[in-house]
């Protein structure tokens, strides 16, 4: 068998084992400590005790959201970095999350989220999709030919959508303002289980779609012209991937708020250790993204327990420091 397949298998299994271990630790730690060896017996046999409720209703959904959001944001980062051939791109630098935030805040202001649970992710995806559409139509109608200029326009759109977001906050009533601000801080807490599961499904589907295009991403990262000459349908593949990235970002931002840095740090970190082959980078980034966010969330809720820090602060601090350390040492 191809040596690369074996290497991929080993990497995948090791990361999966790490993810499972991190999940177990995250399940056991918190304001109330539950020893790991008791976890399984509680989950299987003691369905009426407090520990069971804490595990099933609070910690497990948070972990699932962590895997889904961490994985999805990392994937969006991988896609954008390959398509734009720029290592500094992530959903935030391109204004995609800004657009999603705008969509979500509109949905909160019109109180749509109180009547329909799915309205937050729906508006989030619409917002993210609009930004991608604007960036992309500028490209398609020949206003901008060059990918780097397209990137610059993305950055400008990010500023514009942030300003509009601030405008909405400043014009909204105080209780809405509170609700928007609370959401903006970023948290993996999501009381609606249906939303948690739909987020997980969307995120895993995103991983599947991106994996199908893994070889194409390898070729796309050579540049548009080279990809064309290697027989790739550049336009079509780029559209599918950018739409996937915006759906993933939109859904994540609408549920967990603004959690920066994951889409930037995780793909870089993965490339540093596993190389740039997207066949490995995609699955490895997805799992590492999940691991990273679960650890950050664990820190956020245990450092000043029983109080809780917004997880975005931890991702920024931990991610940035680990990343600088890895860069200096490698």
């Amino acid at each position: 068998m191809n040596q690369k397949v074996i290497k991929w298998g080993i990497t995948f299994s090791l990361l999966l084992i790490t993810l499972l271990s991190v999940c177990l630790i995250a399940l056991s730690m918190g304001t109330m400590y539950i020893p790991i060896d008791q976890l399984i017996s509680i989950l299987l046999n003691q369905m009426n005790c407090t520990e069971y409720t804490i595990l099933m209703d609070i910690r497990l959904p948070r972990i699932l959201v962590g895997i889904a959001v961490g994985g999805a944001l990392s994937l969006a980062g991988v896609i954008l970095q390959a398509v734009f051939r720029n290592p500094l791109v992530e959903p935030y630098t391109l204004g995609i999350s800004g657009g999603a935030a705008l969509g979500v805040s509109i949905s909160i202001v019109f109180a749509l989220n109180q009547s329909y649970a799915m309205s937050l992710p729906f508006f989030g995806m619409i917002g993210a999709g609009c930004v991608i559409l604007v960036i992309y139509s500028l490209n398609a109608f020949g206003v901008v030919h060059n990918m780097q200029r397209l990137l610059l326009i993305g950055v400008m759109i990010s500023f514009i959508s942030n300003s509009l977001f601030m405008l909405i906050i400043s014009l909204s009533k105080s209780e809405q303002m509170h609700s928007i601000m609370f959401w903006t801080m970023g948290s993996l807490e999501e009381p609606n289980l249906a939303l948690v599961y739909s987020l997980l499904i969307v995120s895993l589907l995103g991983c599947l779609i991106t994996s199908i295009y893994s070889v194409d991403l390898n070729i796309l990262s050579l540049g548009e012209e080279d990809a064309f000459h290697l027989g790739l349908h550049v336009e079509r593949i780029r559209n599918v991937l950018l739409i996937t990235a915006s759906i993933l970002t939109g859904f994540c931002v609408s549920i967990s708020g603004i959690i920066g840095f994951v889409g930037l740090v995780v793909p870089h970190f993965v490339r540093l250790f596993f190389g740039s082959d997207h066949r490995t980078v995609i699955t490895a980034s997805y799992i590492t993204g999940g691991i990273f966010l679960i650890i950050c969330d664990l820190l956020a809720r245990t450092i000043i327990s029983p109080m809780e820090l917004p997880v975005g602060i931890v991702t920024g601090l931990v991610g940035g420091l680990i990343f600088i350390y890895a860069l200096v040492n490698k």
Binding site: N2, K4, V5, S214, V215, N218, I219, S221, L222, G223, E225, D226, F228, H229, L230, G231, L232, H233, R271, G275, S276, D277, R279
Partner: protein, 269 residues
């Protein structure tokens, strides 16, 4: 020229015009390349040489005229089929990724990849190995491409294109920024490919003397048009060069190969 025309043309371009940003880049270009023939494209900067190469691969859409590959219009080929036939080595390809030489060359096998194939087949690996052998870069196999020297990078680009197993090989100034020994290495390699693999080659060159030495036919371009075409002796005349490049030159002859040789004359003297 006449002798080559008797062979079947691999590529024929008829009355081709292309425009980009509402400006004509190529005007009424007609040319033929036959099997195992090396066609050199020369001309000053901005004369449309690179645009011509990109039009031939279909990357730049044609405004008027027709491109026939093996007597069939270019549009009748699907993208994958065309990239099995035509490979191009671009000047603009940056090798700044951190992947190994082997992995990079294997990307050249993309046209042969089936829809749900994610990993290279044994045959792909064999073809990549052959490409490395031909270009003499086997020792670089596991090196990272972003750590290679300019000459090594150029050989790696060529090897990736060879992995496509093309019949028509297009190269855009492959000898730029290379020392004379690497220039010679690359052009001798192309000569070998032409002879042994019966490849047709279309190559853009700035060095007129290299073009004279290695190309069977030349086209001299100016402002998107072909000013002269024919064998090096017919194209590289003092009159042609001086009118197109607006520079004084003296004609001569390579004492070994008896091919025409162009000497620059500095205006200070």
């Amino acid at each position: 020229m006449n002798k080559n025309k008797q062979k079947q043309a691999v590529l024929s371009v008829n009355q081709l015009s292309c425009c980009q940003s509402s400006q004509f880049q190529l005007k009424n270009i007609s040319l033929d390349i036959s099997e195992s023939c090396c066609l050199g494209v020369i001309g000053p900067n901005g004369s449309g040489k690179t645009t011509l190469l990109k039009a031939v691969t279909g990357f730049i859409p044609t405004k008027r005229g027709q491109i026939l590959y093996c007597n069939l219009p270019l549009e009748t080929y699907n993208k994958q089929a065309l990239s099995k036939e035509i490979a191009i080595v671009l000047q603009s390809t940056e090798l700044d990724q951190s992947i190994t030489v082997e992995d990079y060359i294997l990307l050249g096998r993309n046209p042969y990849r089936k829809r749900w194939q994610f990993w290279e087949s044994e045959q792909d690996i064999q073809v990549a190995e052959t490409a490395m052998k031909i270009t003499q870069i086997e020792s670089l196999r596991f090196r990272q491409i972003n750590a290679l020297s300019g000459g090594e990078k150029q050989l790696v680009r060529i090897a990736r294109a060879l992995a496509q197993e093309p019949r028509l090989f297009l190269l855009d100034e492959p000898t730029n920024h290379l020392d004379i020994s690497h220039q010679l290495q690359i052009l001798s390699l192309l000569n070998r490919l032409k002879r042994e693999k019966k490849m047709s080659i279309m190559i853009v060159l700035h060095d007129l003397n290299l073009a004279s030495e290695f190309c069977d036919e030349l086209i001299l371009m100016q402002n998107g048009k072909i000013v002269r075409k024919g064998c090096p002796k017919e194209v590289l005349t003092r009159q042609n060069i001086e009118s197109v490049y607006d520079t004084q030159v003296v004609e001569g002859e390579n004492p070994v190969s008896k091919k025409p040789y162009v000497f620059l004359v500095s205006e200070d003297k």
